[in-house]
Amino acid sequence: MVDHQGGEIDLLASVSDDRSFSNPAKELDRKVLGEKIQLALEKLTPRERMVFELKHYQGLRLRVIGEMLNTTEETAKNTLFRATKKLRAQLAELR
């Protein structure tokens, strides 16, 4: 393909590639980070992990989480607080 000045154009170069494997270094960082988060999560008690994942990854309301775990909203909130504290302690060296 030729442009109006007669020069050849590399079409592929103009297509942005934001797929993860397009940047191997970034991808590696991401993977390592993920493993570390995974490890930190595994250090939590099952209940703390459940509350954190339901809140953070599923986005459920604390009231709903409390009902699911047969406790009150207040207890769920305290559990979430403990979980974030522990996670921050675990992941402190990453920042």
Partner: protein, 339 residues
């Protein structure tokens, strides 16, 4: 607000779980507290960091299969007993008792209904008891003849309300699917009547008494009254009183009753053949010599009848009483020319 509370609220705020008012308070606190501002920075950093962990969304196919198998597993569970289900339902609904007022009204209505029904039954049973233990009774008096309305006859029933003797039970019908029984029975109601001897109702009573009364005295009284009527010539018809007297003469067990009947028949021996036959039978067969003698005396005026003569002959030959034999011979010898 101290920092400890603020730290908790920072977490809640980071996940959007803090109310507007509390968020405002928190903002004011953080504005004047560098420690808590740093805390919030760390919290948001953690939140951003945790986002780095990729969350695997399960494929729709897997979710569908899991749901299907879950349904099957639930279906395969043995059905729970009704009381278990009831308990579960009660437990589920215990918080939401919106229906409580309705249920209370329903209970009240049921209670009132049951109460009135019960008292109605009770009252009915008591009424039936006082009425003699039967639900329906259609009493009719038999044996006590119905009094005829008459100027002279004055009938007085026994005082109302006194239970009359029950003569017999004629039918019992049970109403289907209930405790009700219909019993038809007849009562003997003692009654009293007064009237002249010419009154047909009184005469009927007397004739009935002459035949069916258990007491010989009553039979004797009634037969004597009827015999007097016949002697006096007061409408002593062949079918009525005379027949009753003849029946008394033939069949009554009491000799004095038979004697009275015989006396009543005396005026008709000459004119009524059937009376004559009855008297002849009495002369032949009666057990009491007194009756046979009376019959012999009565028959004297009608010796001309051949049957009378035959009877007189046989009586003269066979009667066990010597006096009767003698008298009958005398009667026969008095009229030899007739033969």
């Amino acid at each position: 607000m101290n920092c400890e509370v603020a730290h908790e609220r920072i977490v809640a705020a980071a996940y959007g779980e803090l109310g507007d008012e509390q968020t405002h308070e928190l903002e004011r606190h953080i504005a004047g507290c560098s420690d808590c501002a740093a805390e919030r920075e760390q919290m948001l950093a953690l939140k951003a960091l945790a986002e780095m962990l990729p969350v695997e969304e399960p494929s729709a196919n897997l979710v569908a299969r899991a749901r299907l198998r879950l349904d099957e597993a639930l279906d395969a569970l043995p059905p729970r007993r009704w009381y278990e289900r009831l308990g579960q339902r009660l437990k589920n609904n215990i918080a939401g008792l919106q229906a409580a007022p309705v249920a209370a009204c329903l209970l009240l209505l049921i209670g009132a209904g049951a109460g009135s029904l019960g008292s109605y039954q009770f009252a009915r049973n008591r009424a039936a008891h006082t009425a003699g233990g039967v639900q329906t009774a259609e009493a009719s008096a038999v044996n006590a003849p119905a009094p005829t309305p008459s100027a002279q006859a004055q009938v007085q029933a026994q005082t109302q309300g006194v239970p009359a003797e029950i003569a017999n039970v004629s039918s019992i019908v049970r109403k289907p699917n209930s405790h009700l029984v219909e019993v038809r029975y007849n009562q003997l109601v003692p009654q009293k009547t007064e009237g002249s001897l010419d009154d047909p109702a009184i005469r009927r009573l007397l004739m009935m008494a002459s035949q069916s009364s258990a007491s010989a005295e009553v039979r004797g009284d009634s037969v004597a009254l009827l015999a007097d009527e016949c002697k006096a010539g007061h409408s002593c018809q062949a079918a009525g009183i005379r027949a009753a007297l003849m029946a008394a003469l033939r069949y009554d067990k009491n000799a004095s009753v038979r004697e009275k009947a015989l006396a009543g028949l005396e005026p008709y021996v000459a004119q009524d053949v059937r009376v004559r036959d009855a008297v002849l039978e009495a002369l032949m067969n009666d057990a009491a010599p007194k009756i046979r003698t009376a019959a012999l005396n009565i028959l004297e005026p009608v010796e001309g009848d051949t049957s009378v003569r035959q009877v007189l002959h046989s009586v003269a030959d066979t009667d066990e009483n010597p006096y009767i034999r003698t008298v009958s011979r005398q009667v026969l010898s008095r009229e030899p020319e007739i033969q």
